[in-house]
Amino acid sequence: MSLTLLLFLILGVLSIASAIVTISSRNPVVSAMALVLHFFMLSGLYLTLQAQFVAVMQILVYAGAIMVLVVFVIMLLNLGDEKKLSEKWNIRRIVAILFAFVLAIQFISIYITNLPDAAFIPESAAFNGTVQAIGTDLFTNYLVQFEAIAVLLLAAIVGALLLAKRKIT
């Protein structure tokens, strides 16, 4: 077993574990912390794929911005004691987990029986992950989309302000 594979396994197992904690924890704060851990693990996985830019962005955007917002809202709502937070089992949950299980079998059997064509990483991959490569692509091939994302963020800002305002002016 090579060192990279070992690293992949550690990161993979930890990311799965933190994901499970995220969805199963009773306390939203614990969930949020587990999710932050998960984001770090993913960032590591991106590095094993030689995607440096994405790995850095992952930390900056997700862990740095989105999760701070989430934790902030959790604190703001102040949901009270833990007993209230407990969730009971019902039919929907059982059915949901059953469905997820079926879906998992489907996905795994697809990935096991159909190995991808690309068997090895091409030499160019190391360059593709750099800021330079992505930046060039972004401002030449995807210029229009880059402009469009500005509208998206503008919409999100205006919308969030509107919804979170307290009173009607």
């Binding site: 697809i110 029986t113 159909n114 991808p116 064509d117 030449t140 091939n141 995807y142 210029l143 229009v144 989309q145 402009e147 469009a148 994302i149 509208v151 998206l152 503008l154 919409a155 999100a156 205006v158 919308g159 302000l161 509107l162 919804l163 305002k165 009607i168 002016t169």
Partner: protein
């Protein structure tokens, strides 16, 4: 002006408008009409520029070399994209004209509404123009995010915010599947560009299983956006809970945008000309069969459930689900004829559905009042104009000639039969027979019932313009459908 600049004028203008409207909102937030005027003028300008790009000859557009353009071939110009730009602008104009009196009545603030409308239209236009999965995704997201906000626009009202929450959670969930599908299609073909994907599929150069799974997942995401069974359940709740003018816009322009996305994707993934490919791939026959079943189930469920609704807004919401089923028949037909059918019906549907919802919004009081069938008893006496045009919209929705809705159905049904889906057409005809029951039911209430003791008030204001334009279009498109058909004939 360089040709590309001329062609991308509508997109540039809507971009400028979206910044402008935010600035107006920020600086003159207290002025109630300035945002309205800015948005109205802006949409009219965008409409005109789109109409202008439609006049540029398709040959000139085809002669452009993608590599030399700023858009690098990620954007489609002219043709159906320009047509849909115009359609979205018309929908937005009709909606904001009706929104002004509506919000005055509800004592709500205005300006942020116009901003969100502009953003939504920008997103829809990007969808219509996209020739690339990335543009498509961003367009869908801009539209969806604007809709989440618009659905919860009455943020202090329980139903409105419930609609926003449901729409957001389910919409984001569906986005996950859409995105996963895009990722797998990208992995299977190595490209995000739709024309390239088509070439690769036609040349049999792709990884079959991943592409199949990717198409399945993407299908799910798109079916959610058009509100097709079994991904339709958000629609009745959201359409009922959202402010009525927003529902009018979401259920028409939003549906049209989702359908053009569907057409764009179908054109890239499904081979029509068998000469191009060795044989039709399995995933194509399977996917089309699945869409056919979804289409049949959607129209049956939508129409049958609408039968027992007592709230007109909710009834129309279910009927909107049913109409998604009819529209999907054009995708099932997988032919230019079918896509033209979709475009025609989406146009016709836009006018009749906006018209119907605006009639509701005019008679509505305090968001929830006066929306039940009983409230409409005998309003033909007190509001003959509203009752008459509502009857026209209902007849058109039911597909009774000579209104526009009939021709839309006619084109879609013949396209489906030509593609060999006679069974689907039979189901479609049966379900539209069922739908007649509740559309006519409303007319019975309006015309053949005694009036209520409490008279409904209606102050239409600028909504009158919306209603007159919608009625005129529903009638004119029914008598002279060629006006539109000749225009859309050479899109595909």
């Amino acid at each position: 002006m360089p040709l590309e600049l001329q062609l991308s004028l509508p997109l540039i203008l809507i971009l400028i408008l979206s910044i402008k409207i935010v600035m107006v909102d920020a600086k003159f937030g207290n002025n109630k009409t300035l945002g309205f005027v800015t948005a109205l003028a802006g949409f009219i300008v965008v409409f005109i520029s789109a109409a202008f790009t439609l006049t540029i000859s398709p040959e000139a557009i085809a002669s452009l070399n993608a590599e030399e353009l700023y858009s690098k071939g990620t954007i489609t110009y002219g043709g159906f994209a320009a047509y849909f730009d115009m359609l979205f602008c018309v929908a937005a104009i009709l909606t904001i004209l009706a929104a002004l009196p509506y919000f005055q009545k509800e004592n709500s603030e205005h300006n942020a509404f116009y901003s969100m409308m502009v953003f939504a239209v920008a997103g829809m236009m990007l969808i219509a123009h996209s020739a690339n999965l990335l543009s498509l995704f961003i367009g869908i997201e801009i539209m969806s995010i604007s809709f989440y906000v618009l659905a919860g626009y009455f943020r202090t009202k329980e139903k409105s915010i419930e609609a926003a929450l449901k729409y957001f959670l389910l919409g984001a969930f569906a986005t996950g599947f859409l995105l996963y599908g895009i990722a797998l299609i990208y992995g299977a073909t190595g490209s995000l560009s739709l024309p390239e994907i088509l070439t690769k599929i036609a040349a049999d150069d792709f990884s079959n299983t991943y592409l199949t799974l990717g198409i399945a997942l993407m299908l799910i995401g798109l079916c959610f956006k058009v509100a097709a069974f079994p991904f339709h359940q958000w629609a009745p709740d959201v359409y009922t809970g959202a402010p009525t003018v927003v529902t009018a816009f979401m259920s028409t322009a939003g549906k049209a945008a989702a359908l053009i996305a569907f057409i764009i994707v179908a054109r890239a993934l499904f081979v029509i000309d068998i000469g191009q490919a060795a044989e039709i791939p399995d995933f194509q026959t399977n996917a089309i069969m699945i869409i056919a079943i979804i289409s049949a189930a959607t129209m049956l469920i939508g129409n049958i459930t609408a039968l027992v609704q007592k709230n007109i807004k909710r009834m129309l919401a279910y009927s909107s689900v049913a109409h998604a089923g009819y529209l999907l028949m054009g995708i099932v037909a997988n032919s230019p004829q079918g896509w033209e059918g979709i475009i025609f019906y989406a146009t016709a549907y836009l006018f009749m559905q906006i018209g119907a919802f605006i009639v509701l919004s005019v008679l509505e009081r305090k968001t929830d009042k006066n929306l039940d069938l009983d409230d409409y008893s005998g309003i033909s006496k007190s509001h003959p104009f509203l009752a008459a045009i509502m009857a026209i919209f209902m007849f058109s929705l039911a597909g009774i000639p000579p209104f526009a809705g009939f021709f839309g159905k006619f084109l879609l049904f013949t396209a489906a039969i030509d593609a060999g889906f006679t069974w689907l057409t039979i189901i479609a005809v049966i379900s539209s027979m069922i739908s007649v029951y509740f559309y006519i039911g409303l007319i019975v209430y309006m015309y053949f019932r005694k009036s209520n003791t409490y008279p409904l008030e209606a102050d239409m204001g600028s909504a009158k313009v919306t209603l007159i334009i919608s009625t005129a279009c529903v009638v004119i498109l029914g008598i002279f459908p060629s006006l539109i058909i000749n225009l859309i004939n050479n899109f595909f």
